[in-house]
Structures are given as structure tokens and as C-alpha cells.
Symmetry: C2
């Protein structure tokens, strides 16, 4: 019999208890840090040779040089034609929907001209080259390839370099097929900290990128954190989470399965239910007990729910909103009667799934919005991965002679107030004597 | 006689030599890391008591408790009325222009509805609470208060908490006046890693924020890097840089002074001139020699220009663009005949100052665009500070019954392809049997 933590928002210690359940420390320990630090330095210094050595060692490969680790684009096309037709159709439809949604996110340049002829604006450009990390082995998700690569291509990134480890030479055909659909430009069969280093610093064979995106294990995450500054990174993701707010009128089996769909990701994943109806919470518990038996990932789901799952009883839906905003969940499912009204009150969430029909799982694959979302309460200050992550802005300032003179006078006062004479003089040169 | 490095883009070793000049390592050493780590842990554990102790020690204060370190809003108003009228007018005009530009950056929510009634969209919200770090002492810049605070307020951040150290009790009246103009909500006279920790973790008196922005010394930068994840941060800025591209037809004194205006910031600041005209480069050198004598910050300017300045001769303006895009400068001044044509070819720059009249210094204070800009080549992947840094997005998905059924079928195929049964089942529950 599974035991899931239950809390009541009316209890004196509720917020403290909730905090304890939410706590997640993403800091990597010294051993991981030192290992990654060594690999980064080595790849930076020795390039291809180091990458080949680490790949042979960690992925149990035996290649003589980096050239053998490039997967040609023709191989991606082979995978695309080889996979079952239903899977190919599903991947293509998902890609099309992700692309359609991403098009709405694309930023455009803008400018405006003031009365004296001075132009101000913002020029938007795409990144030149982006690296996409794709995990190998069990955590190889073709959907992640689409979610990371499609927005980059919509942004107009000319060159997208994918890295994916192939431990023991094992290649994931669905991942290669997804890369073909997404329009990835080059693929290397490398992974771990050495792949992140190759992308961030460049080697003789792997071109240096401007940003590294994509999920990975603790070594990959640590490497990304360490190369941040040399290149951009997307985010350091914690374990996946879902918060389901239910009014007690959805089929409890549906809610149980929605909680499972996060829990099955890994043992650290977090599934939380918030509901004002004590009876309904009991029904969901019964569904959990019954449905768990049918799950191939029963062990992972059980550990996740027992270790990090929470069932929270609230007084009413206003309190549910308050709890949801505090948690700032990665995935927020509003399985309630008027979900759009409630969504308008949500201040912090990665993605909001509205209504009883909107399972979080459709968002993972094909609804359109990105499944790379801020975790561990970071939705308080960050956003889903999007086209905007592959674009950047440059401010534009073009002063007319008259504008430069007027602005020069203001700048002069402020520059001297800050004790910066050269700033003042530089502005004053452009003042028109009258 | 000042010696500035000169390069010719036609030389065999040019890119290598340029790389050597651009190299900047922002990594903090172990001693700084350990000091900051200790302070962060202590503030997290002991709250106000720790902040008060560090403040008394590092800022040579002698306060009994945190309450004494809060600067009341009335005190900011006092500063605003006490400063010279010209300075107040300049600050207010600058704030108004920064606000007007920032309004153009504000993101709005959007959504669209598909044929089957499924709604997809993006909900934009402001951050709840932001911490603004303002350096004390010599590097206290009222313009930075405006540049950081105004976009946050335009974004709609309800609560903006400013921290500014007051070493030996010394308060900067212009900084307080700028805070009053910008609408800062609370101010604490604390600084260093202890102030960053107080903002990131919260104490009994200092409320926990969602993001910490603003410049600071190496201790502040290290603390920001370490609390990233718990809260958001703006960026880790390196030394300031300017790249001036000149066709040789601007007054060489103007160009020299524009180079000085970066160099006077600090000894590590970098000023680079790119020009196709060897004679003009010589004229600028003569201007530098002559004008340097008039500069109160002569010593800093000399060290900066000798240590990190570069004069680059190029073959033509196309090569100048190539060099500029490689350097991806924080500030790019296009002192040329057709600056807008050239700006359209610029792929990477924090801010682009177009034309002979547009001194970088007006951008520092009052043109409107933000002066917090990506440094050290990070303009390849990042953007100026803006309203968008104080807003975040939540994806919106509301499936109609029909939409959920259609999407459920796609999700089911992909979920089973990834071996995620609960994902598949969760989606399949919503498929309408036909």
C-alpha cells in the first residue's frame, strides 16, 4: 500500500511542511564538479583527441578519430524512412504544431523616430550557431529533439549542431528521425561533459557554438553551468513536476494517471494534487492504488509518489490558486469548471493546462507549446524555452545633430555628477553652440 | 608617451592576436569563492543577525539591528529636493526617456483558437518582487539606478527592493534621488555578498525577491552566480568595452574622447578603434596624447588603453563589419557616412550608436535604451537589460474535447515510442471512441 504525504492548507505548519516537500538542492557535489572541471580543461586544451578518448572510455566505443563520430545527415534520412509510418506521421504532426506555435513567438525589430529626427529602436537577430544536447540511452526522447530544435530553426539559427551519445554504439532511430524532421545541420555521437566542452570551446572538428541547450544528467548540467558565460545556456532543469488543481469533478482515474505521468519520469519527479474535496482525494488515492499495478514503471512511480508526492486539501479554489502561485509549478493542470478564469489568476507556472480534457501529456508531445519548462519554483522568474531564446536584441541609437545636442546637455550634467569627465566631454563635443 | 596595441586585419596572425587581446577570464578565484560561500550560508542560517554583523564589519558601521539599516522612503524624497535643480531635471528627463523606450519593449499575452476550439497561447506576467543591487562608494552611479529600476517598474513589478552599501555611513544623495524618481519601494543600506544573500534567501526584515539585478564588485558577482537558480539574475558583467568603427572622416578628437569614455571606467575596460585609414589612426593617436593630459582620470585611462586598447586597421568597411561581428562588442559606435546601412549588417552588439553625432555617452545616461549591456562577446547570445527581463511567460493550453481526442492519438504513439506508458494512458483517456 502506497503512502503519499497529505497536507491540509488550514494547518498551522502547512507552509513550512510544504516548503520541506518542495526543497530541492541542485548543487553538484565536489566530486562531480572536479571531474567535470578536469574534462572541460582537457577538451579545451587538446580538442578532438580528448573528446575521442573520453568517448571511447565513457561510452565504451573504440573509434580512432573524431571523423568516425560524426553521424552524416544521410543517416538521419535513413532513420526517418526506416521507422514505422505511424511514428513518423506522429513526429511530423508534432513538429508542425510546435512550429506553428513557435511562429507566434518570433520577435521583430522595431524603431521609432523622435520629432528632432533621432531614431531609437531594437534590432533582433538570430544566434549564429547553437548546440543541442540530446541524452542517449534510456532518457533519449525524440520529442525533446523537436522541442529544442524547432524553435531554434524558427528563430532563423543557420547552424544547429546536435550531440547525442551512443553508448556501446547504440543509436536511437527515433531520435535521428526527429533530428531529420527538425532540420538539424550536423550530428556528433558524443555526450557527457566532453560534448558540452566541445560545443562551448570548439575543437578541430566540432564547431564552437554560441549557446548550448537541451537536457542531460548531472555531469551535463554541471558542465553547462560551468561554460555559461563563454556560451549561453537554456536552463539548469531540476526534476519534472506537476501540480494538478481539481475541483473534485474529474474522473479520479484521469487525475491519478496525470500524476503518474510525471512520477514515471524519475524517482525525484514531483506530483502534487490540490483539491478542496476530501472525498475526492480519497477516490484519487484508490485510483492510484488500483492503476499502479498496471504500470510498467511501477517502481519508479511508487518511489516518486512516496518520496515527493503530496495531496493537499484546501478550503476553496481561491486557496488553491494561492498554493499554486506559491509552488510556481513547471506543469499546472487546472482540472476545474472554469479553467480560463482561474488561469487569469495564476502568476507563476511554466505551462497551464486548462480543463478536464487537457492532459499534461499532450503538452509533452504535440499541443504546440514547448515542453522545456522552468522547474523547482523558477517559473517565478523564468519562462518556457522558446524562439526568443534563440534571438537576441541590439539597441539602436541614431541621434540627429539637434538630438545629439539636446541629449548631450543632459548627459553632461549627469556625467559630471558621477565624476566621469571623458563621458561629459564626449557628449559636449556634440552640443551645438547657440 | 602612451603605447596602444596596433593590429592590421590583413596580417597572418590577426585573428589570433585579436583573440589574445579580447581574452577575459571572469572566473573568481578560490579565496573569493570560499569567502562568498561562507557569507551566503551564514545569512541563510542566521538572517538579520548575520547581515548586521557583516555590514558593521565590512562597511565600518555600528548599528544594533537591521531596522537601523532601512532607509525610509521619506529620506529619498529629502535627497530629491536637496540636490541641485539641474541635476534633478537631468535625472528626471533621463528617467522619462528610459521609460518611454522601455514601454516599447513590454510584452503582451496572446492566444489563438484552432478550428476544433482548442486554445493555445502565452500568458505574460511581471515578477512579484525584484532586488536591485547598487554599488556604494566611488562606483555609485545614479544612472544605474534608473537603468535597472525603470524597466522593472514599466514591466509592472509591484515591489522593488534596493540595496546600497553606505561604507562609513556615507550616503550618495544622487543615488537616493534617482531611487525616488524611479519609484523604488524599499531601500536597505547593505552591500556585498551579504546583501545578495539577504535578497535571495530573505531575512526577518529583508523580503525574499525573485530576481537580483544590478552591477557589483567581484564578491557581488560571485554571490549572484551562486544564488542563481534560487532567484533569477540579470547577467555577470565583465569590464565595459567600446568598439568604434570610423571611416576616417569624424573629428579625431571626438573619436579619442569616445575611446576615453570607456577607458575611464576602470583599468580593465577595453576601447578598440577599427578604421581603414592609416593616417586617421595616426591623427587619433595624436588626439589621445594631447587630450589625455586634460583628463582627471588620466592614470586609469592610460592603464586601460595601454593594457587593453587596440587600434585596428582594416582594408575596407566590409572587413570592419566582419571584425565588429567577431568581437560582438558591448557598445558599437558606427562613426561613418551611412551608419544605418552598416548597422543592418551587424549581427552581434549590445547597443549600436549610429553616426558621428551619436556619442556612446548619451546612451549611458539619457538616450533611452538601457546601459546594462552584454560584455565580453556575450552579445553573441544575450541582450540588453530590458522590460522583458522583469516579465515571464506561461504557456496556455486549453483543449476542446475534439482537440484532446485528436492530440491524444498523436501523443499516445509518441509516448509509447518513448516507453512512457502513463503518459500514453493519460492522453488516451481523453480520446473519444468513434
Amino acid at each position: 500500500m502506497l503512502t503519499i504525504k497529505q497536507l491540509n492548507a488550514g494547518d498551522a505548519n502547512f507552509w513550512q511542511d510544504l516548503d520541506a516537500m518542495l526543497a530541492w538542492d541542485s548543487v553538484s557535489d565536489d566530486a562531480v564538479f572536479n571531474t567535470v572541471n578536469g574534462i572541460l580543461k582537457d577538451v579545451r586544451k587538446r580538442g578532438d583527441d580528448a573528446v575521442v578518448e573520453y568517448t571511447n572510455r565513457f561510452d565504451r566505443m573504440s573509434v580512432a578519430g573524431m571523423a568516425e563520430l560524426e553521424i552524416p545527415l544521410a543517416r538521419l534520412q535513413t532513420a526517418l524512412t526506416a521507422i514505422p509510418a505511424a511514428q513518423r506521421a506522429a513526429l511530423e504532426e508534432a513538429a508542425q504544431r510546435i512550429r506553428a506555435y513557435a511562429e507566434h513567438q518570433k520577435m521583430d525589430s522595431w524603431s521609432y523616430t523622435e520629432a528632432d529626427g533621432t531614431l531609437l529602436g531594437q534590432q533582433v537577430t538570430a544566434l549564429d550557431r547553437v548546440g543541442l544536447y540530446v541524452p542517449g540511452g534510456k532518457a533519449a526522447y525524440p520529442s525533446s529533439v523537436l522541442m529544442n530544435a524547432v524553435p531554434a530553426k524558427v528563430a532563423g539559427v543557420p547552424e544547429l549542431i546536435m550531440v547525442v551519445p551512443t553508448p556501446d554504439g547504440e543509436v536511437n532511430e527515433l531520435v535521428l528521425a526527429a533530428a531529420a524532421i527538425a532540420g538539424v545541420d550536423r550530428v556528433f555521437a558524443i555526450g557527457g561533459a566532453q560534448a558540452v566542452a566541445a560545443l562551448a570551446y570548439g575543437t578541430q572538428t566540432v564547431p564552437q557554438v554560441d549557446k548550448v541547450v537541451g537536457p542531460g544528467n548531472i555531469y551535463v548540467a554541471t558542465a553547462k553551468r560551468m561554460v555559461y558565460g563563454t556560451v549561453g545556456i537554456d536552463m539548469i532543469a531540476g526534476p519534472s513536476e506537476i501540480l494538478v488543481v481539481c475541483d473534485g469533478k474529474t474522473n479520479p482515474d484521469w487525475i491519478a494517471m496525470d500524476l503518474f505521468s510525471q512520477a514515471e519520469h524519475d524517482e525525484d519527479a514531483q506530483s502534487i494534487l490540490v483539491c478542496p474535496d476530501a472525498d475526492f482525494i480519497e477516490q484519487v488515492k484508490a485510483s492510484i492504488t488500483r492503476l499502479l499495478e498496471e504500470m510498467p514503471r511501477k517502481t519508479i512511480i511508487s518511489k516518486s509518489l512516496e518520496g515527493r508526492g503530496v495531496l493537499i486539501q484546501v478550503q476553496d479554489m481561491d486557496e488553491a490558486v494561492k498554493v499554486a502561485n506559491y509552488i510556481a509549478p513547471e506543469h499546472l493542470e487546472l482540472s476545474v469548471e472554469n479553467p480560463r478564469e482561474m488561469a487569469a489568476q495564476i502568476r507563476h507556472a511554466g505551462a497551464i493546462f486548462m480543463g478536464r480534457y487537457t492532459a499534461e501529456a499532450v503538452g509533452d508531445y504535440c499541443a504546440g507549446p514547448n515542453h522545456v519548462l522552468p522547474t523547482s519554483r523558477t517559473a517565478r522568474f523564468s519562462s518556457p524555452l522558446g524562439v526568443y531564446d534563440f534571438q537576441k536584441r541590439s539597441s539602436l541609437i541614431d541621434c540627429s545633430a539637434q538630438g545629439a545636442s539636446a541629449l548631450g546637455k543632459i548627459a553632461s550634467v549627469l556625467a559630471h555628477g558621477e565624476g566621469l569627465t571623458a563621458h561629459g566631454r564626449s557628449a559636449e563635443y556634440r552640443i551645438i553652440e547657440s
